[in-house]
């Protein structure tokens, strides 16, 4: 399947990796994990805020709850962005040509991430800082958040499309722009699984955030209690985890066969089990007694964290499997090219430009031919083209062939309204003399 005619084999950069591959892979997985946690909080937080604020139209407490979550989004998003640079750096180092090829093929969407995310960020600030301003126009205020959420929901699709497309060089020849790359298998299931993760992580975050001793719940809310908000957090996490498991199974079944191995399936199953553990304890907490609300928190948080690590690892294994064969071909192709390049470098072909010599011109024949080859692009006999006409040269260098030869060898800048003339190091002294002879013969 890989060896089909329309799989391109680009050449890699002929530079070694800066670190051993395993270390780069570790840095990639760990830094990506940190990045994605804050992304989850940013996206999930926005979704929860929007939901709570809509609910807040009827129940004021939910509006306050939305405001409290909204305050965390702007902080989490700043950390998410800055944490994203390290995985970006690592993936481009490890999979340079794959990642860049995918970027280029989805170019418009890829670069649109920048203005879109900027707008979404500005919207989240606008939303946060106009909470009391729009007291009487709640729907407009919710509209601001809805717009931000819409953007936040779209951006992950672009990223997922890219990391998906990079694994399938055999599709590069058929992809035309972002939309067609979006339609490749496995993008949507992974996306929906990701949204589940956003909601799950945000749910757990809400539990932690409202469990802090210094956080004055009683001053902020009138009817909500620490217990009721924590329970809400667990419920949100339960919904998220269920979605994750549901779509995770679909991801597993729709995984294109090329990178699958038993170990990938095995590791993914372990990841799924960890999710199931987290879901079980979440459910136990919700249906359990009031004083046992904190009992399973650590277990849930840990199993979600472990899931992320294991799942991230399995994705890397899958990526590795999918690209291994192709990478070998690329490496060989690069080596082959370097060999050719070295050969050519060591045996340079003298550039012999064949001059069209017209024997009927007698002793001026060679000079004429040189002029036509090298000079006629810019100089005409009687009128100015790029440089001055020949007649002007003749008036300056009459009876001074050496002067003209020296000028052509090493021209300077003479006239303000014309560009500087290039030098002609490839012409020999003899050739320059012939050329000058011809130039000065023009009347």
């Amino acid at each position: 399947m890989l060896l089909q005619i329309n799989t391109p084999i680009p050449k890699d950069l002929p530079l070694d990796l800066p670190l051993p591959e395993w270390l780069l892979v570790t840095l990639l997985i760990v830094s990506f994990l940190l990045h994605i946690i804050f992304i989850n909080l940013m996206v999930g937080g926005s979704i929860v805020t929007l939901w709570a604020q809509i609910k807040g139209l009827k129940n004021k407490e939910y509006d306050t709850f939305a405001h409290e979550i909204a305050k965390t989004i702007t902080v989490n998003k700043s950390i998410a962005v800055v944490l994203g640079v390290a995985p970006l750096l690592s993936i481009t180092t490890l999979y340079t040509i794959y990642f860049y090829s995918a970027n280029a093929l989805t170019g418009f969407a890829w670069i649109m991430i920048i203005p879109l995310v900027t707008i979404a960020f500005l919207l989240t600030y606008l939303h946060k800082y106009t909470w009391s301003t729009f007291e009487n126009n709640r729907k407009l205020h919710i509209g601001i958040m809805a717009l931000a959420v819409a953007i936040f929901l779209f951006i992950p699709l672009i990223f997922l499309t890219n990391v998906n497309l990079m694994m399938f060089p055999e599709k590069w020849g058929t992809v035309q722009g972002f939309l067609s790359a979006l339609m490749l298998p496995n993008v949507f299931p992974r996306y929906l699984e990701f949204l589940g993760a956003c909601i799950a992580v945000t749910g757990i975050f809400i539990v932690w955030y409202n469990n802090r001793k210094a956080y004055p719940i009683e001053e902020i809310y009138t009817s909500f209690t620490r217990y009721s908000i924590k329970k809400l957090g667990y419920s949100i996490a339960t919904i998220g985890l269920s979605l994750q498991i549901l779509f995770g199974v679909i991801v597993l079944f729709t995984l294109p066969s090329k990178g699958i191995s038993y170990s990938v399936i095995g590791v993914m199953t372990i990841a799924g089990t960890l999710l199931a553990v987290a879901l079980w304890f979440c459910y136990q907490t919700i249906v359990g007694e009031k004083d046992k609300i904190d009992l399973h928190f650590k277990k849930i948080a840990l199993s979600i964290f472990a899931f992320m690590l294991v799942y991230g690892g399995s994705r890397q294994m899958y990526r590795h499997n999918s690209l291994e064969k192709h990478q070998e071909l690329v490496a060989d192709h690069t080596a082959e090219f370097q060999k050719l390049s070295k050969e050519a470098r060591e045996n340079p072909v003298e550039e012999t430009i064949e001059l069209e010599i017209d024997p009927s011109l007698g002793e001026l024949a060679k000079g004429t031919a040189i002029f036509n080859q090298y000079c006629a692009a810019c100089h005409k006999p009687n009128e100015r083209l790029v440089g001055p006409p020949i007649t002007e040269m003749v008036s300056i260098y009459k009876n001074d062939e050496t002067g003209l030869v020296n000028w052509i060898k090493n021209p300077g800048k003479k006239r303000d309204d014309m560009p500087q003339m290039p030098g002609f190091p490839q012409l020999s002294n003899d050739e320059l003399k012939e050329l000058s002879k011809y130039i000065l013969s023009i009347k």
């Binding site: 890989l2 060896l3 089909q4 005619i5 329309n6 799989t7 391109p8 084999i9 680009p10 950069l13 530079l15 800066p18 902080v75 700043s78 950390i79 962005v81 800055v82 944490l83 640079v85 390290a86 970006l88 750096l89 481009t92 340079t96 990642f99 970027n103 280029a104 093929l105 989805t106 170019g107 969407a109 890829w110 670069i111 991430i113 920048i114 960020f121 500005l122 020849g173 035309q176 722009g177 067609s180 192709h326 071909l329 090219f337 390049s341 470098r345 340079p348 072909v349 550039e351 080859q373 090298y374 006629a376 692009a377 810019c378 083209l385 021209p411 560009p419 500087q420 290039p422 030098g423």
Partner: protein
Amino acid sequence: MFHLDWLNDRFLIAMIAILHVFINHGLAVGFIPYITWLEQKGVVNAGKDQITDLAWDKLVYKKMKVAFIITTTIGAMTGVGIWFSVALVSPASIGSLIRVFYWAWFIEWLVFVTEVVLILIYFLTWKNANTSLKAKLRHIKFGWFLSIFSWITMAIIVAILGFMMDPGNWNNEQTLINGFTNPIYLPQLLFRTPTAMLVAGVFGMLLTTIFAPKGSEMRAKAIRYAGKWILAWTPLVIIGAIYYWNVMPSAMKDNMATAVGSQDFAQYYNLLKYFIIGAASISIVLATFAWIKPKRINFAYVIVPCLFVFGFLGIFERVREFIRKPYVIGNYMYSNLLREEDYPLYKRDGILPYMTYTSVTEITEGNKIVAGKDIFMNTCSRCHTANPQGVNSITYVFERMYGFGKPLDENSMVAYIPNMHNGRTFMPPFPGNKKELEALVAYIKQLQQTGESLEGVQTTGVQINPLNSAASVSKKLEESAKENEKQLTQK
């Protein structure tokens, strides 16, 4: 390749990068010490029974809020945007740089993460700090600490810029150290530091005119402070600029005889001189006026100098970029992303057989234009647009030479292009062979006639070079492996 046929690919990077520099210099490196200074003034000028002058503190907080929102949205995203746009426009060069300088960027990332966290803390703890004098003083101290930290971030980034610009050393010594020891490192830093302060002062004054109530004492005081701030830093800007201006061409000339010597560079360089003089004197005039007659200053007076100092930074970065040419990585990779060492091969066989994406490998009369288009994409499109209306379009640069509106002459162009790098030293040499040259010229001629544009792969997709498909590459590799075996057995 990704290509924007109207905007110009380089221009995309330039726009994002310059916006980032404005925000980084003006609203972070320069602005935080300015804000901390003002915050401190509030405490110093407050009555005995107050922690700080609350109305004043609120004004300073509002200014910080604007800077905070802008830096954490547009500032942060343009920073990432530089990575994104360079990845699209110049993948081979940035890929090579990352392979070599991974650690430098990794360290910068750590410093940067810390800076973002510190800014978040500084801004978000502002209101809580107003509850006691001790907390307020700690907050101010933290402000100064953050100021130093963001200056250090800049000092590291300038070094990273330094190693990318350092042309001679790529092939010898690829370490970050020569970013710091680079001859333009110190001048750049000495120039950028006061400039950041100047931009911050002017921008701060602009914000004062927006936020402070008209005619109030507080407004006059804030404007006067901004004036003092600008007056204090402008002389250093001038000194730094003169130093930098004098040292740059000679420092760069030692390393490469390229774009620096050219006339186009001289033009930019002169323009930079006027911008330095203009921005400095207009700032002094504004600051003096603000000092003497603070009540007369309003938004309209400040916006012009504000735009002027922004323009000044922009042109400064443009000049700094220009000195790289014709290379993107000094003496290693040309700005067309082809490595200098591969040129002999391309000259011998042509470049098309070695490009991963092209439909033409053998040029004939019939496919000449298509071939020319692929050659243009692979050798010209990083800096030139095809569409005659585009920025720095290929037809525009030729018409500028041969006369606007006149039909281009193919013979002249064929004779000119192989020599162009001798006269226009900022241009890389044309890499292809004679046939490719003719195809390229035919394509350019057609561009002039039809005014058509060239779409990048983000819309049209790619056509895989049949010589570089998996099938033929593995066949070739098998053959050469057999060849090797044969040679071995013969021995």
